[in-house]
Amino acid sequence: MSALAATRSGSSHLTGAGPLTRLALRRDKIMLPVWVYALSVSVVSTALSLEKLYGTAAERADFARSMSANNSLRALYGPVLGDSVGALTAWRMMAFGAALTGVMSLLIVVRHTRDEEETGRQELLSSAAVGRRAPLTAALCTALTANILVAALIAGGLAAVGQGAAGALALGLAIGATGMVFAGVAAVAAQLTESARLARGITAAVIGAAFIVRAAGDASAAGGRSPLLWLSPLGWPEQVRPYAGDRWWVLLLPAALTAAAALGAYALTARRDLGAGLLATRPGPAAAGRALRGPYSLAWRLQRGTLLGWLAGLAFAGAVFGAVAHGAADIVGDNERTQDIFERLGGSHGQAGLTDAFLATITGMLGLTAALYATGSVLRLSGEEADGRAEPLLACAVGRLRWAAGHLVIAFAGTAAVLAAGGLAMGLAYGATAHDISGRLPRVLAAVLAQTPAVWALTGVTVLLAAALPRYATAAWGVVGAALAVGWIGPMLNAPRWVMDLSPFGHLPKLPGPVGSAAPFLWLTALAVALTAAGLYGLRRRDVG
């Protein structure tokens, strides 16, 4: 701070940015490394597994050709620009990696700007020798640190595993620079609204729109030649062409847009009061409607926005994957090891079963995603309790069980609804591309809905923690994370059966496909009921607040 204070004359608006950045980095000392590690390791490990799967240049050329030919796949991942391991890694990871880096950046920026103002913590900080622009600067510096680390670890990691250093640097910078674009977008969104949740929603919607524009561009033309790609920040990484010409100057685009967004955010900061947004919040009703009269209607009111977001998200994902599924047999092609992985993920055998195996893989992913929704929904309970909103409610004529049931009904029914939305969209998209909606939709929908008991079993664990042991409620994310890891990564690593069995998803048959016994569905549901009952029993007996 002293260094900054010394150059006071021109930059007193920035006073305190240094200490605030250190504070932000300190507060993010777990979240930030986890994000950086997960993003960079997933890119580097993709390169390793691609190298193992497609060891020879001929295999890679064959793979690249079949990937390029498939419109749905191009829409999903982007164009294949070369047949080196590096180029294939860029193809496979760039679009999603850049979008996820954008999500990381948006979470960081909103957390240190609008969240701080909304909770009132910024007021105390700003009363100290902290300039008007310092909080935003600190948030952007924190995001910059994270993005530089992501870029450096991707570049360093790929170079270290023997992919070319120039391409590695281009890929790292393309991803990191795109992350900063969305940090800038989040900085603007954080100035517009008074609600951090809304600022996150706006930025996430911008990322989603950028993804769709890029996907449309890539679907319409091969080789990244569509003009649409220049309109979407998520189209720029492929224009950098890592491992396929390394066009460095394209990196100026994200840099310029980031700078413009940051300047815009600074200008907006100067025009508004602390805590206020530029979009005025509309006043609410002076009296409650008839519907708001008990714990169930309150829980619905609190959770409906989130549920609608997840419904839309899973429907979108289902539609995208459903549209790709018809060409799945081409994707996997003749490569035996890829077939092998798909079969282990999806359970079916032979070329005819490959589409089913692909669908089963996606179905499992939708199930795991729904588990994230369910966990967040149940943890509203502990959030309400920790924030002191449960106590006055329970001091009304509301029994603990009714209070909890309001949120739990939404969590359990919402899980089924979210899966139904994903299954419906996937079945429709798959049926439409295969010109057989009436035949394929019911199979796909049933397969996705069959994930429900496994999600419920995981949800039961969350209920047990949130209701009976609220101090350990956040451990539920760890449990879901472990199930995700087992389900997503286990098959790639050829994990032994007992490891796969640790996740409730490991006990479900691979669907669509032969159902076999109904037993797993029944006992997973019974497990969910037992865990929930145990949690509620604990809730009735423990101290609240």
Binding site: E118, E194, S195, R197, T281, P283, G284, P285, A286, A287, A288, G289, L292, R293, G294, P295, L298, R301, L302, G305, D387, G388, R389, E391, P392, L393, L394, A395, C396, A397, V398, G399, R541, R542, D543, V544, G545
Partner: protein
């Protein structure tokens, strides 16, 4: 008169902390009862036990003749609670929260709700996050005073209210008393307690140290006397109940237990009184006396400060 709240020998521990250590409390129906004690004395813990949110380790608690833990829901139809720090849902308006609380209790009187909104100058259309601390308190206060209930449990309810609103609050408590409601008021605002409460209980370290009407409690504490005499006094230090005696020539300052005041005055008149001031103990002194016991140096400083006031 019946008893609205009876608590005897209440114990509650959190890990190694003994929050309540044999607390007693008795609140008569229809009275406004002040519940005083330093931070961390166990006031909120007691209230949470009375609300059935915490389960006591030992001891008995009865609320309106029933068990606060087992009969929580039935009891809560008959009471309204205002916490010291109200948090609201960010996307619900104040008016919606007031109605929700009303519906979740015994019901809400719409005319009274409208009147209270006006008196507290509260805009019910704002969303939860837009309210200041004081306005969040008002949301809970309007909901409580407009509810049709027998018992009000108020845990430092006026934190963040400005003096005008504090006055409105005091009027509302007075009206609640006139309607025959029972009020348990935990508070640090001594003027508020002095103005409102029929009886008070003072607790410290999880135990009740004093309970009774303000007059009773005053009687137990000291009056400070300072006098200018015609001649140096004698024999004052031998009198029972005299404390902190300081004599400088003919000037005398002392503290005396209020029930031992008479002999001291007699002794003073023997030396001839030129001027005399006698100050009855304020609630603040009474309060500090209990707060300060075995707390070391800081209270001593506070005591001189209080005496200076």
């Amino acid at each position: 008169m019946t008893t609205a709240i009876t608590v005897s020998g209440l114990h509650k521990s959190f890990g190694r902390t003994h929050a309540l250590d044999g607390l007693d409390l008795s609140v008569e129906s229809g009275e406004v009862h002040g519940f005083l004690g330093p931070n961390g004395a166990g006031k909120s813990t007691t209230i949470r036990v009375l609300l059935g949110l915490l389960r006591a380790d030992r001891g008995a608690a009865r609320l309106l003749g029933r068990d606060p833990w087992h009969d929580a829901v039935e009891l809560h139809r008959r009471l309204a609670y205002v916490p010291g720090d109200v948090t609201l849902w960010r996307n619900l308006s104040g008016g919606e929260v007031i109605d929700l609380y009303g519906r979740l209790r015994g019901g809400l009187d719409p005319a009274r709700r409208a009147e209270l909104l006006e008196r507290f100058e509260l805009d019910p259309t704002k969303k939860g996050r837009a309210y200041s601390k004081g306005n969040r308190q008002k949301v809970a206060l309007v909901a409580a005073f407009a509810s049709d209930v027998d018992l009000l449990i108020l845990d430092e309810p006026t934190s963040g209210l400005d003096p005008l609103m504090e006055e409105v609050f005091q009027e509302c408590v007075g009206e609640a008393r006139e309607r025959g409601r029972t009020v348990l008021l935990s508070s640090h605002v001594l003027s508020e307690v002095e103005a409102l409460c029929d009886r008070v209980s003072i607790i410290r370290a999880g135990r009740t140290v004093e309970s009774g009407s303000l007059a009773d409690l005053r009687h137990l504490t000291r009056t400070s006397v300072s006098a200018e005499l015609a001649a140096p006094p004698n024999g004052l230090s031998r009198l029972p109940g005299v404390h902190d005696l300081s004599v400088q020539g003919t000037r005398v300052r002392l503290q005396v237990d209020t029930d031992k005041l008479d002999p001291v005055l007699r002794q003073l008149t023997e030396s001839g009184v030129r001027s005399l001031t006698s100050t009855p103990p304020t609630l603040e002194e009474l309060f500090l006396r209990h707060y300060q016991t075995d707390q070391g140096d800081v209270p001593a400083a506070r005591r001189t400060e209080a005496a200076a006031r």
